[in-house]
């Protein structure tokens, strides 16, 4: 496990780098990408279902 405390003393161009912010940013990356894919997969399923159901109706007619 990477010890983020090592970065406490790190000062960057825009100021002190916060430990908590670094770990939160990685958390954001993981949760964000996962969240987007979940939403996209749900929309994908909805489209598949819609395409199938409305197509069936047409064919039945």
């Amino acid at each position: 496990m990477l010890n983020w405390n090592l970065l406490t003393a790190f000062t960057s161009v825009m100021g002190n780098v916060q430990n908590a912010d670094i770990s939160k940013s990685f958390e954001l990356m993981g949760l964000g990408m996962l969240g987007i894919f979940i939403v996209m997969l749900l929309i994908f399923l909805v489209i598949v279902v819609l395409n199938k159901t409305t197509k069936n109706k047409k064919e039945n007619r």
């Binding site: 960057s12 912010d21 940013s25 954001l28 969240g35 939403v39 996209m40 749900l42 994908f44 489209i47």
Partner: protein, 414 residues
């Protein structure tokens, strides 16, 4: 008939009396009153003496934006108002700022109070989008998700550069290539760099034909760029087209409530378009509404281009990070397509460039991808696949913005 010479004499006499009574040109008559009288004229140079080098720099930046808009055709609808606005708000003692100043009022009411301008613009954008290519080939949705990677990658980089997480989140959204979403997220998160973020978002959107080919070539081989993808569109029923915006709004609202305003207004515009009963409203949303908001949005955002806010080292870094986000969004989409290809049979492979079209710059990105495909193989037509991914990118970018806002709220940052 008026006697013009009599009126002229009357006005001249009144003006002379006024100047004399107010001691403005008393020096003509009173030698000792010269200095005092010149002080009376100082109001004419108050503005000139209040000019700072930062303001002059902003005039040049405003001029540059207008030049890019007019000469280079870079997003002229946004960059021209922003460029002019940058000059407007950087004139000393500007009457458009402060209490009663029109630009400040527009900003406070149209952006701060309710994010009305970017949201209303989304109705117009929704009415312009045809989700047909995506509905007939829904797997393209995955690229609209993957191509948001640059946003989150840039957030981490911005944090490592020393930006507070809230600022980093706002900066990352530049990568969505979605101006209204960038403005909205930076406003909700109260970013100090809102002006720079808006300029970066719109500038890089205009630079898609330059940025994307370079980024794509960096991570693909010629052979990959030549992959052909047959297009066999399935028919999409009107019911699907009508239900799609409603259901997407409900999904987004239930999973990422903070994205509801963005997704809801985008999908509302699309519903107006697809319902088939509101052609006039659809045309109004696509044309007059979008145009009116665009005119006001550019000049309103210029409020954040005041020298004291804009001229700082952070602005340059924000611009650089925006470019980074844009490049890595494209690369994220391309690499995801390459990953998917590992699991697909040889004759079903996806041209990885299509993944790069999963950003929000619609339809420019799809066109760029098609142009690149034709350059490698003049019989390779992947436009409709790219359009599908590009439209998915529109959804992906607003979802990404909404998720960022949801997490910011969850972490007590707003």
């Amino acid at each position: 008939m008026w006697d013009l010479s009599a009126i002229h004499l009357f006005l001249l006499e009144k003006a002379t009396c006024f100047l004399y009574n107010n001691n403005i040109c008393g020096f003509v008559y009173k030698e000792e009153g010269v200095l005092k009288s010149l002080n009376g004229l100082s109001f004419l140079i108050n503005g000139v003496t209040a000019v700072t080098w930062q303001m002059v720099l902003m005039w040049f930046i405003g001029g540059l934006l207008m030049w890019l808009a007019i000469k280079k055709d870079f997003e002229p609808a946004l960059l021209l108002p922003m460029g002019f606005g940058a000059i407007l708000v950087n004139l000393p003692l500007s009457g458009v700022l402060g209490n009663g100043g029109i630009v400040q009022w527009l900003f406070e009411k149209g952006i701060v109070a309710s994010e009305a301008f970017p949201l209303l613009l989304f109705i117009g954008i929704g009415a312009m989008i045809d989700f047909g290519p995506l509905l007939s080939n829904p797997r393209m949705l995955l690229f609209g998700g993957a191509a948001q990677f640059g946003i989150f990658f840039t957030v981490s980089l911005a944090v490592l550069l020393g930006f507070p997480l809230k600022e980093a989140m706002s900066i990352g959204v530049i990568g969505a290539a979605d101006g209204p979403t960038s403005i909205l997220v930076s406003q909700v998160l109260k970013s100090d760099y809102m002006g720079a973020i808006a300029v970066a978002a719109y500038s890089y959107m205009a630079l898609v034909p330059i940025i994307q080919p370079a980024a794509i070539k960096l991570v693909t081989t010629k052979h990959e760029r030549m992959i052909r993808m047959p297009y066999n569109p399935k028919s999409v029923s009107k019911t699907t087209k009508i239900l799609f915006p409603v259901i997407v709004t409900m999904i987004a609202g239930l999973i990422a409530p903070a994205s509801l305003a963005l997704v809801g207004f985008l999908m509302f515009g699309n519903l107006i378009r697809e319902c088939g009963k509101l052609e006039n409203l659809s045309q109004t949303a696509q044309g007059p509404l979008a145009n009116l908001i665009t005119i006001l949005l550019g000049i309103t955002i210029a409020f954040q281009m005041r020298a004291e806010v804009f001229v700082q080292t952070g602005t340059l870094i924000v611009m650089a990070l925006g470019l980074f986000a844009f490049v890595f969004d494209t690369i994220g989409g391309v690499l995801f397509a390459k990953l998917v290809n590992l699991f697909l049979p040889k004759d079903k492979k996806i041209n990885p460039m299509v993944g790069g079209a999963g950003i929000s710059a619609f339809p420019m990105s799809a066109r760029v991808i098609q142009k690149m495909a034709l350059k490698e193989d003049n019989q390779n037509h992947i436009l409709m696949h790219a359009v599908g991914a590009n439209v998915a990118g529109q959804i992906g970018s607003v979802i990404a913005g909404g998720i960022i806002l949801s997490l910011a709220r969850l972490w007590g940052m707003m």
